[in-house]
C-alpha cells in the first residue's frame, strides 16, 4: 500500500503507530492475508497430493462441547412435544438496516425458512403461525397450521419494511390467538426483533403479566443491541433472550429453538389425548377429499372414526375433529425423550497401553482407526457396549441417527 510505505519513510516517531496504520489502511480481507497465512499450513503426503487441512478434529471438539452443554442437565426431562409456536417478525424501519448483508430482513427471511423446515422435521405434531409488526401495528400473516410450504410462501411475498415496531401490540395479538388452543399444547412465541425501541399504546408490563398468566413462553432473538424490556419479557415468561452477532450466529441461535424446550413443571399436566391413525388408501381408489371438496384419485388417508378422506398428515379431520397422525410422526419425537448417551473419548494413555488390545476398525463404518503411521488415531467409545467408533460415525450417530449400532447389535448386552 502506497500510504503505508510513505508513512514508514516519514519517520521513527511514528513507528509505534506504523503497525496500526499499515493495518488500518488495509481492508479486512487484506488483513487476514497479512496475519494468517493459511497457505503455509498446507501439507503434502508421500505421493505429492495435498493433504486436507485437519479441521475435522476442531469441528469434532466443538461438537462435543456443544453436546455436553446440552446434556449436562438431567438426561430425562419432560418436554413439550405438541407445540404451538408463533414467529413474530419485526418489519419496522430498523429491519431494512444493512449491517447484515444484504439487509437484516433478507437474512431473517432466509433463516426463518430454514428454521420452519427444521421445526416441522423435529416436531411433526406441532403447528406454526407468523405475525408481522409494521407501522406500529401487528398483523397475522398466516394462521396457525402444520404445512411448512404455506408459511414460507406467505412470508416471502411480504417483506417490505417501514414504520415503527410495537412489542405490546404483537404480544396482545399472539395472546388472543394462543388462548384458543387446547390445553395440552405448549404455547410459544419467538420474536425476531431488529428495532431498538417499541411504541406501545398502553403499559407493556400488564401485557407481559397477561402472557405469563396464559402460560406463553416468549423468547426473543435481537439483531441490534440488548434491550431491557426484551430481557424482562423472557425472564418473566421463562424464555431465552439472545442477541445475534453476525449471520452465522443468528442461524445458530434460531435453530436452537427447533428442538423442544423443557416443559415448565406446573404448567405441564399429563393428559390423555384422542388421536386417530389412518390407513393410506390404495393407489387406484377414488373418493371425495374433505379439504379440497373435490374428487381425487388414490393416495389419501381415511379417518378411522368418520371415514372422511384427508390429503396429508398430520391434520385434524374436517368432519369429526379427530387429530390424525401416523405412527412415524410420533416416532420422530422419541429421540428427544430417550436421548442417546454421549460417547467417551478414548484417552491417549489408554491407546498407548500395550496390554490393551485395541479394536482396529471403527464398529460403524469399518474404516481403520489407525493413523497412516500405524499409530492409534482419535476414537470414541460407547459407555454401554464398549465398542470403538471413529469421529465421523460419532458425529453422525449423535446428530442424525440417534441409535448406537453397537448397543443395537447385541441382543444380550
Amino acid at each position: 500500500m502506497n500510504n503505508g510505505a510513505g508513512r514508514r519513510i516519514n519517520g521513527g516517531a511514528e513507528e509505534d503507530d506504523d503497525e496500526d496504520d499499515v493495518n488500518g489502511d488495509l481492508d479486512a480481507w487484506e488483513r487476514t492475508y497479512t496475519d494468517e497465512r493459511s497457505w503455509e499450513s498446507l501439507q503434502e503426503d508421500e505421493s505429492g497430493m495435498l493433504r486436507p487441512i485437519d479441521n475435522q478434529a476442531l469441528y469434532h471438539s466443538q461438537y462435543r462441547r456443544r453436546l455436553r452443554s446440552l446434556l449436562s442437565t438431567a438426561a430425562r426431562i419432560q418436554k413439550g412435544l405438541i407445540r404451538y409456536l408463533y414467529i413474530v417478525i419485526d418489519l419496522s424501519r430498523a429491519a431494512s438496516e444493512m449491517d447484515f448483508r444484504p439487509s437484516r430482513i433478507a437474512v431473517i427471511a432466509k433463516h426463518v425458512e430454514t428454521f420452519i423446515r427444521e421445526f416441522f422435521y423435529q416436531n411433526p405434531l406441532s403447528q406454526v403461525g407468523i405475525v408481522t409488526i409494521k407501522d406500529g401495528v401487528a398483523h397475522c400473516l398466516t394462521d396457525i397450521g402444520g404445512s411448512p410450504e404455506s408459511h414460507i410462501n406467505a412470508l416471502m411475498k411480504k417483506l417490505e419494511c417501514s414504520g415503527d415496531s410495537s412489542l405490546q401490540n404483537a404480544l396482545d395479538l399472539v395472546d388472543g390467538y394462543l388462548n384458543q388452543i387446547p390445553s395440552y399444547g405448549h404455547r410459544e412465541v419467538l420474536i425476531l426483533y431488529s428495532a431498538l425501541s417499541t411504541c406501545d399504546p398502553g403499559d407493556i408490563m400488564d401485557t407481559i403479566q397477561k402472557c405469563r398468566k396464559s402460560k406463553i413462553r416468549c423468547s426473543v432473538i435481537g439483531l441490534a443491541a440488548e434491550m431491557f424490556i426484551c430481557k424482562h419479557l423472557c425472564q418473566e415468561t421463562g424464555g431465552t433472550y439472545s442477541v445475534a452477532l453476525d449471520e452465522s450466529h443468528f442461524k445458530e441461535l434460531i435453530l436452537e429453538h427447533a428442538p423442544p424446550p423443557p416443559a415448565i413443571a406446573e404448567f405441564a399436566v399429563a393428559n390423555l389425548i384422542k388421536m386417530g391413525f389412518p390407513q393410506r388408501a390404495a393407489e387406484g381408489s377414488i373418493s371425495i377429499c374433505s379439504c379440497h371438496k373435490e374428487a381425487k384419485v388414490g393416495a389419501g388417508y381415511t379417518c378411522p372414526r368418520c371415514k372422511a378422506r384427508a390429503c396429508e398428515l398430520p391434520t385434524e379431520c374436517c368432519v369429526c375433529g379427530l387429530t390424525l397422525v401416523s405412527s412415524p410422526h410420533l416416532a420422530r419425537s422419541y429421540h428427544h425423550l430417550f436421548p442417546i448417551a454421549p460417547f467417551d473419548e478414548v484417552t491417549s494413555s489408554h491407546l498407548n497401553n500395550p496390554n490393551c488390545k485395541l479394536q482396529r476398525n471403527c464398529f460403524g463404518c469399518q474404516q481403520s482407526l489407525l493413523d497412516p503411521g500405524n499409530k492409534p488415531g482419535p476414537a470414541v467409545v460407547c459407555p454401554k457396549c464398549k465398542w470403538y467408533f471413529c469421529l465421523d460415525c460419532d458425529i453422525y450417530i449423535h446428530e442424525s441417527l440417534h441409535n448406537c449400532p453397537g448397543c443395537d447389535s447385541l441382543r444380550h448386552s
Binding site: 388421536m275 460403524g364 441409535n403
Partner: protein
C-alpha cells in the same frame, strides 16, 4: 405424510448394502432352504458387480443375537480372480458367514417360550447407515468425486416369519430413528420379504425412504425377482416401472405390537413423565 422426494441422478453407479437375515428360527421352518437362498443371493451380488465397474457391494448379516459385516467388495482381499472351484468373492463371503453364524449361536442364552423370534434389524440398519453416511458428512471437498457415485443403500432384508409377528416391537424406536435418518440423507431402503405374513416395519421403511417393497410369490424364482426389481440403480428408477405398495399400514399396532381396534385412540405417551 409425504414419501421421500426423488432426486436427479446423473449416473448409474451405486453402492448396495445388503442386509441378509440369518435368523435360524426362521430358516429351519421355511420352504426355501438357506443354501438355495444363498445361491440366489450370490448370483444377484455378482450381477450387481458386473452391471457397472464402479459398483460396490457390502453385505451385513443380521442374526438373532448379533450383527456383523461379512463382505465388502471394495476391500483388497476380494479383488483377485477365480481360484479353483468358485470365485474368491463367494468363498470369502461364505467363510465369513459361517464364522458369523457360529459366533451368533454361541451368544444365545435360554429364552422363555413364546417370545417373538425376530432378528436384530435395527442394529444392522444402523451399521449400514454409518458405513454409507459417516464419511460423506465431514469432507465437503471430496464431494466432487462422490457426486458420480451415488450412495444407494438397499436392504435385501429378508425377514423371517415364524408364528407371531416378525417385527420385534422392542426395536421400533431404533428402526424408526434409522429410517428417518435415511430419509433425510436420501438413501432409499428396498425390502424383499420372504415370510408368510406382512412386515409393517419394512413396508414403512420402504415407503418413507422412497424404496421398493416386494413380497415374491414364487420363491423358486427368487433370483429373477431380485434382478428385475432390486438391481435397478437410482438413475434408472425414474423410467422403470417398479411395483407399488397396495397400502401401507401406519396404524398404532406397529407401536404397541398387538392388534388395535380400528378407531384407535392412543394415550399421549409424551405427556407422561418418563421414568428416570
Amino acid at each position: 405424510m409425504a414419501s421421500a422426494p426423488s432426486k436427479l441422478y446423473a449416473d448409474d453407479v451405486s453402492l448396495v448394502v445388503v442386509l441378509l437375515d440369518t435368523n435360524p428360527f426362521f430358516w429351519s421352518s421355511s420352504s426355501l432352504s438357506f443354501s438355495q437362498f444363498l445361491s440366489h443371493v450370490l448370483a444377484f451380488l455378482n450381477a450387481i458387480l458386473t452391471l457397472n465397474q464402479l459398483n460396490q457391494v457390502v453385505v451385513i448379516a443380521t442374526g438373532y443375537n448379533s450383527c456383523d459385516y461379512v463382505f465388502d467388495s471394495s476391500s483388497d482381499l476380494n479383488r483377485s480372480f477365480e481360484n479353483g472351484r468358485m470365485p474368491v468373492m463367494c468363498s470369502s463371503l461364505l467363510q465369513k458367514l459361517e464364522e458369523f453364524l457360529i459366533k451368533d449361536e454361541q451368544l444365545s442364552k435360554e429364552e422363555p417360550e413364546g417370545k417373538i423370534k425376530s432378528s436384530l434389524f435395527s442394529g444392522s440398519l444402523s451399521m449400514a447407515l454409518c458405513c454409507i453416511l459417516s464419511g460423506v458428512l465431514m469432507l465437503p471437498y471430496f464431494f466432487d468425486i462422490l457426486t458420480d457415485i451415488q450412495r444407494v443403500f438397499r436392504s435385501g432384508a429378508l425377514h423371517p416369519h415364524p408364528r407371531g409377528s416378525p417385527d420385534g416391537p422392542e426395536q421400533y424406536v431404533a428402526i424408526m430413528n434409522a429410517i428417518f435418518s435415511a430419509q433425510r440423507s436420501s438413501v432409499p431402503i428396498d425390502s424383499c420379504y420372504l415370510g408368510s405374513q406382512n412386515s409393517a416395519f419394512l413396508q414403512q421403511a420402504s415407503y418413507i425412504t422412497g424404496g421398493v417393497h416386494h413380497k415374491p410369490q414364487n420363491l423358486d424364482g427368487l433370483f429373477q425377482y431380485l434382478m428385475t426389481i432390486f438391481a435397478t440403480d437410482l438413475h434408472s428408477r425414474s423410467f422403470i416401472h417398479l411395483p407399488k405398495p397396495v397400502g401401507v399400514d401406519f396404524r398404532a399396532s406397529s407401536v404397541f405390537g398387538q392388534a388395535q381396534s380400528e378407531a384407535a385412540s392412543a394415550s399421549d405417551k409424551k405427556r407422561k413423565t418418563p421414568e428416570t
